[in-house]
């Protein structure tokens, strides 16, 4: 186990180092000049040159990269070129918002998706299945940005049930925090609910047709017990894997949702820093997102070895 862990840690470090090169190069491959974006249209050449020097853009790329790496390793991600705010502070305020949004959306997706999937599999070929499948198809087809705008216009503006935008920290007021996040999390979670639902439905259909379910039924177990204890419980393994895969999609979807609902998350930060060519922020944000993927993957892999000891064996052969 120790050796496997060491192996995986080493692999993660290499991946992260490679990712940092790709992120650094990718950000610089964007057309446009951050100094110019910052100095504006009437920039005087002297100020522009001074800005370039201040941002370190006048140095060769490898030097810029090494400086970025050396600083990043000490936890210093620099300052935003546009606002001058330290990047670590910006990530520190935006990342928790996105994590809350993603977790809340995932809870909604799992609850709604599992319920729909169970309904669709139990009432196969009847109207609840059509309804559930129709919902899934619609939820997958309708773009989040459109749904988000509709929700703002009808649920927030006309009916006034939810706030149209804004964010409240759960540390300040937990109830209001949930209230403010409900609409964005629902909008973000809907498409993922559809995926979870389809997955639950198909694995439930398999599970309900399996021998152990037939045996359970033959032994006279109640319908609910069969469905939930034997069917759903066995399907949840697949669902868990899907949920893990969906986390990436949630972060991507959060970019759009955060923009529509004016949520101060990392998705909005990424988008804004692309538009203003804020290199330090963009680099750091993409690196943090990449890093969290790697960490999640690592955790999942390590968890697998705990759940399934056979993986440890294959770890040795790697």
């Amino acid at each position: 186990m120790g050796r496997y862990l060491f192996h995986r840690l080493w692999q993660s470090a290499v991946t992260l180092a490679l990712a940092s090169v790709v992120v650094f190069a990718g950000v610089r491959a964007l057309p446009g000049d951050p100094a110019l974006a910052m100095a504006g249209e009437e920039a005087d050449p002297e100020a522009l040159a001074a800005l370039r020097a201040q941002l370190g853009l006048d140095r060769p790329l490898p030097v810029q990269y090494l400086k970025f790496l050396a600083q990043a390793l000490t936890g210093d991600l620099g300052r935003s070129t546009r606002t001058g705010i330290p990047v670590t502070q910006m990530i520190g305020t935006t990342l928790p918002v996105t994590v809350q949004l993603a977790v809340y959306a995932m809870i909604i997706a799992v609850l709604a998706g599992t319920a729909g999937g169970v309904l669709a599999s139990v009432y196969r070929g009847r109207w609840p299945e059509w309804l559930a499948n129709g919902f899934a198809l619609a939820a997958l087809s309708v773009p989040t940005f459109w749904l988000g705008i509709l929700a703002v216009v009808y649920l927030a503006v006309q009916l006034g049930w939810f706030p149209a935008s804004g964010y409240v920290s759960p540390l300040r007021d937990p109830l209001r925090a949930v209230y403010y996040l409900t609409l964005p999390a629902t909008i973000l979670g809907i498409a993922h609910a559809a995926v979870v639902q389809r997955q639950t439905r198909s694995s439930m259909v398999d599970a309900l047709a399996s021998d152990y379910v037939r045996t359970a039924r033959a032994k006279g177990l109640g319908r609910a017990a069969v469905v939930f204890r034997y069917g759903l419980r066995n399907s949840l393994i697949v669902v868990t894997t899907v949920v893990g895969l969906q986390l990436g999609g949630l972060i991507a979807g959060a970019v759009v949702t955060e923009r529509i609902f004016g949520l101060p998350g990392i998705g909005k930060l990424t988008l804004d820093s692309v538009f203003t060519r804020d290199y330090p922020v963009l680099q750091a944000v993409v690196l943090v997102i990449t890093g969290s993927y790697i960490v999640i993957n690592l955790l999942v892999d390590v968890l697998y070895t705990v759940i399934d000891p056979r993986i440890r064996v294959s770890g040795r052969t790697l």
Partner: protein, 568 residues
């Protein structure tokens, strides 16, 4: 794209209801054909009802209205301000926030005239124009409690000159030194006379920073700006919001009613409009012309509007081969070579119809960099050549270029600009131009503009109080922002003379003559001038917007006779 005017005010004439079946199919086929033709860019612009004029509503001070003391105002701001540092800031939106925390030596009033704010009177200019003297308030304090005086003014102005990354240097002109002979007087010494200095001091250059804060924060002053103002900086969450609280030390604190102001960053126009209606924000700027009619009908909201000092224009690349500011080189294209071709392009822009179709008539046609409402306007500088596609074709034939003349225009990839570019495409097609639209993201477009890798480029300029800031930087030979690489000794002489003269009437006359040169050579073809559209809740009183476009919130208040807002 359907270019017909779809204003809320237009009423279609009653027509017989089409029968279902074949008619519906025919209508569908027709719609597809029209759509395809529109995509190909060959639908001519339909005549529209023009001449709808909008009168300015700049808002009114609180005055005698019954207002409540206290309250927390939330404004939805259309873009994130940059550093809150008067020396380095280049963002228009930073001005909005700074207007509440950082008073300036001079300010504009509702009529667009320059009035003293931290200064005690308009400056006195020596007969040779080289020395400018003004008095400043004494006995008042910065938000950190330190005294405001002439040496503090000198420190701020000196920083604009000496900080390497200063964005104010060109605005200060040929300023050589700053003296503060006593606590209440500042003397500026110039190498040449420089009339636009008063206007510059009514803008960011005139915001005076606390010297103690400058020493403590240095280049990071923008993290915790400290000035003299009705409000003081309380905190900022990047990309999200900026919070201000009332400054008890402010010299005119009796006129300040609110406890706090939050500027919430909301770049999405739909989101800003929705939040205004839901009451989550009480003020929003840059309302889209697509939303403003609907918001104007909402009885809980009020629309403020004023003309703008800036403009939108097409820059023609005449000689920018190696980047702006470098010596111009000839560019081998009919538009760059032949003024007649540029004249033809300018003649075939149907400015009035374009603003009517694309902006529901909320914006105004523009033909020069001089804003008609300012004292520097004259009949010559506001004259607009008529739309004349026939003349345009004749000029192209005279210049011996193939008709249609193929040319590409680079525009920002925003919805409004793409719609405008498509309408422009249809308009210039009438005059013999085959325009290809190249949408480019804003930061990239700035780079394209600077490098000179364009033929035509459509961009806007937010405008400056003094016409100097709207002309010289873009048109004087080898100026930093002369992106078209245009060079005319005749125009250079006129612009220089206009910047040195201190007589407003004489300057107006010179800018009129300059406009005639610009309209003859057409290095920049001006297209329209936007109106500053701001919407606020009727619960509020005392919000004002002047022609500099800045939304002034500092003296606003919640009305006592109405229900208060959610944050109230």
């Amino acid at each position: 794209m359907d270019l017909r005017h779809r204003s809320q005010h237009s009423h279609p004439s009653p027509r017989p209801r089409p029968r279902r079946g074949s008619n519906a199919l025919a209508a569908a086929v027709a719609a597809v054909l029209v759509g395809a033709a529109a995509l190909a860019g060959c639908v001519p612009i339909q005549p529209v009802a023009t001449g709808v004029t909008h009168s300015d509503d700049l808002g009114t001070p609180v005055g005698d209205q019954p207002v409540r003391q206290g309250g927390h105002l939330v404004m939805g701001l259309s873009a994130e301000p940059d550093r809150l540092d008067p020396t380095t800031s280049t963002s228009l939106y930073t001005r909005y926030v700074m207007s509440s925390i950082c008073e300036k030596l001079y300010d504009l009033d509702a009529t667009g005239s320059i009035v003293p704010q931290l200064a005690t009177g308009l400056p006195t200019i020596s007969p040779d124009g080289l020395t400018v003297t003004f008095g400043v308030r004494t006995g008042i304090r910065f938000a950190d409690g330190t005294p405001f005086d002439a040496p503090a003014v000198r420190a701020s102005l000196q920083r604009h000159l000496s900080l390497k990354t200063s964005a104010r240097r060109t605005e200060m002109g040929p300023l050589t030194s700053i003296d503060a002979p006593d606590a209440g007087r500042v003397v500026l010494h110039f190498k040449q006379p420089f009339a636009p200095i008063t206007a510059a001091l009514a803008d960011r250059a005139g915001m005076i920073m606390s010297p103690a804060a400058l020493v403590a924060e240095g280049a990071n002053f923008g993290d915790h700006p400290v000035c003299v103002g009705p409000f003081k900086f309380a905190g900022r969450v990047a990309q999200t919001s900026i919070d201000l609280v009332r400054d008890p030390l402010y010299y005119d604190a009796g006129q300040v009613h609110l406890d706090a102001i939050t500027y919430r960053i909301m770049p999405d126009t739909v989101a800003r409009a929705a939040n205004l209606r839901s009451g989550d924000i009480q003020v929003a700027n840059e309302i889209s012309t697509q939303d403003v009619d609907a918001l104007a009908r909402d009885r809980h909201l009020h629309v403020l509007q004023s003309g703008s000092l800036g403009y939108w224009a097409v820059t023609i690349n005449i000689g920018n081969a190696d980047g702006a500011g470098t010596p111009p080189k000839p560019i081998d294209s009919p538009l760059a070579r032949d003024p007649r071709v540029r004249q033809a392009f300018a003649d075939t822009i149907d400015r009035t119809t374009l603003v009517a179709t694309v902006f529901n008539n909320w914006f105004e046609p523009a033909c020069s960099p001089i804003e008609p409402g300012t004292p520097y306007a004259s009949p010559a500088s506001t004259a607009c050549p008529p739309y004349d596609p026939a003349r345009s074709r004749a000029l192209l034939a005279e210049a011996g270029v193939p008709i249609p003349l193929k040319v590409a225009i680079q525009v920002t990839n925003t919805q409004d600009q793409l719609r405008y570019a498509q309408a422009l495409q249809a308009s210039v097609a009438e005059g013999g131009f085959d325009l290809t639209i190249v949408p480019v993201e804003y930061a990239t477009l700035l780079d394209v503009q600077k490098r000179g890798s364009f033929a035509l480029l459509l961009l806007g300029w937010s405008g400056r109080i003094d016409p100097y800031g709207n002309t010289s930087a873009f048109l004087a030979s080898r100026a930093a922002a002369n992106y078209g690489g245009y060079s005319s000794p005749e125009l250079d002489a006129l612009l220089t003379e206009a910047s040195r003269s201190t007589d407003t009437a004489a300057r107006a006359q010179l800018y009129g003559r300059a406009t005639q040169v610009i309209q003859r050579d057409n290095p920049i073809v001006y297209t329209y001038r936007l109106r500053v559209l701001t919407v606020h809740s009727t619960q509020l009183a005392g919000i004002e917007v002047y022609s500099d476009g800045v939304v002034r919130l500092a003296r606003a208040a919640f009305r006592a006779d109405l229900r208060t807002g959610p944050e109230g």
